[in-house]
């Protein structure tokens, strides 16, 4: 039996599958459900300084090769979120599943305030979402867009929560994600989560209108996978911190590809639409079979494999 346990910094995960932020992460009950379904760690929905209702409907649609969403960062505000997280942490601790909080804000100073508020709930890590494509100019340029702004947020958060590891979540729509990753690691990021959704627009030709009420939204699911794999590979070659590789992972084989690109753990979101909450456990099971059939014993055997030249003679599962 391959060993699927996964060390994410100081966190020990029983599987490398991490529930991605914004999927089922809105209550302690749903976070617990994801953990019971097989996630090795779970990320809560991003929360900001104030409650936000989010955008009107439609907020999400399956466009055939993936999903597009513009939920609009609905959240109850940091104060109430801290209560939710404390509750969730206790319930998850019984299952041995670490809780990752997720925060966003409109200014560097607000990021620090939200981080401080959330830190009171003692999550195992805090994910700093500097890359949500759905909030737009209300919050100015996305922080993930430049090395300077990404580093500024990272440093500000790190300053106030020195004792909790932070993961900075990056956006795919930049010219060089490796450089952004280097900048946030230099500024104190303990991990990188890559990637958030890719900005897009789905138009209904009959209506002559974008389907999302917010007109633009973020693309996730299968269409995002090769973009995410390339981002993770670039980051893995640029920095030396764990990466939660996220984007389009729907099967154990997808998870293997993400780890081969250099990820330590694998974020899973949209797969929950395609396969239900059970997707989390199914991906773990399929990854286990994948490794076993090919004689790999640990995740380390495949981590970063696709970044190195191939072995002289390749082992193969054959076609049988």
């Amino acid at each position: 039996m391959p060993d699927l346990a996964c060390e994410l910094l100081n966190l020990r995960l029983r599987s490398p599958v991490v529930l991605a932020s914004g999927i089922l992460g809105t209550s302690a009950a749903l976070l617990e459900r994801a953990a019971r379904a097989g996630a090795g760690a779970v990320t809560a929905k991003s929360c900001g300084p104030e409650p936000r209702p989010g955008h009107p409907n439609p907020v999400a649609v399956d466009w055939g090769h993936g999903v597009i969403n513009a939920i609009g960062l609905s959240n109850p505000g940091a104060m109430e979120e801290a209560t939710l997280l404390s509750d969730a942490r206790v319930r998850l601790a019984r299952l041995g599943v670490p809780l990752i909080a997720s925060i966003f804000a409109g200014t560097v100073a607000e990021f620090a305030i939200v981080a401080q508020t959330i830190a009171r709930a003692s999550p195992a890590a805090i994910e700093v979402n500097i890359s949500c494509p759905n909030v737009g100019d209300e919050f100015g340029t996305p922080f993930a867009a430049t090395e300077e702004s990404a580093a500024a947020v990272t440093a500000a958060v790190k300053r106030v929560v020195a004792d909790i590891p932070i993961a900075v979540k990056l956006a795919p729509n930049v010219a060089s994600i490796g450089r952004i990753a280097s900048a946030v690691v230099a500024a104190g990021a303990d991990m990188i989560t890559a990637v958030n959704t890719m900005p897009g627009m789905v138009i209904d030709a009959d209506a002559g209108q974008p389907v999302l009420a917010n007109r633009v939204g973020g693309i996730s699911g299968p269409a995002l996978k090769p973009i995410a794999l390339r981002c993770v590979a670039e980051i893995a070659q640029a920095v030396n911190v764990p990466i939660i590789g996220t984007g389009g992972v729907c099967t154990g084989r997808d998870a293997a590809e993400m780890i081969m690109a250099g990820a330590t753990a694998v974020g899973v979101g949209t797969a929950v639409w395609y396969r239900g909450v059970e997707a989390l456990g199914q991906i773990v099971g399929e990854l286990d079979s994948f490794l076993r059939e090919r004689g790999y014993r640990t995740l380390a055997d495949i981590r970063g494999l696709a970044l190195r030249p191939p072995a002289a003679r390749l082992p193969g599962p054959g076609n049988s």
Binding site: S27, A60, V61, S74, D204
Partner: protein, 257 residues
Amino acid sequence: MYRPYTVVDIRTENERTKSLVLDGSLDAEPGQFVMVWLPGVDARPFSVAGDAPLTLMVVAVGPFSRALHDLHRGDSLWIRGALGHGFRFPERMPGKRLLLVAGGYGVAPLQFLARRAVEAGARVDVAIGARTRTEVLLSEAFERVGADVWVTTEDGSAGERGRVTVAVERVVADRQPDVIYGCGPIPMLQALEAICKRAGLPYQLSWEARMRCGMGLCGACEVHDSTREGWLACTDGPVYIDEGVLSESSGSPEVKA
């Protein structure tokens, strides 16, 4: 994805309720719902009130339902679905006794269910609760498919005076139904659930929740009560099936649309 449909017929059911008949059919089971999108307005969940042709029953209570009431024949609306898990029939339907309990627009999916149940050989009782006589919906439609109908109104203007639970308690005692199906406002569902638990009766209740993604992702439709911890109305439901029921799938598939 959403698909456009055209309104081909509009039936006025009462002063604030219309049925919209659309120009195509939809593969759906009773209890499943669709997301209805009006570009530039909003998108909301509606029960499938009929599958061929696709029919929706809309109670005008706010901006979106009023926008649907404003549609004319020939206008378009956009449909995603059928979504969610619908009602299931017990095994060996012929001779089974089903009690359907409806409040408000709850008559819509239950009338679709009643038709299928009678076709499958079951005997169907229907309890409809409303505030007043004019708000009692579709009672003839239920009778037409061969169900026995029990009406209650809060003001006594039609049927028995009181809440629908009064009728339910009596039908349960007199007719000993095998399963109870319900759709209506949450307080009604809660009262119904209490009755069923007390009587040890299997039940299936279509739950209402604010829906956003309608894809089991965003968590908005989580039903926050102790019976349904972490339960999502859009993908786990909308029909909540009490564990006690050893049911056979009536083929309500998990549709990706």
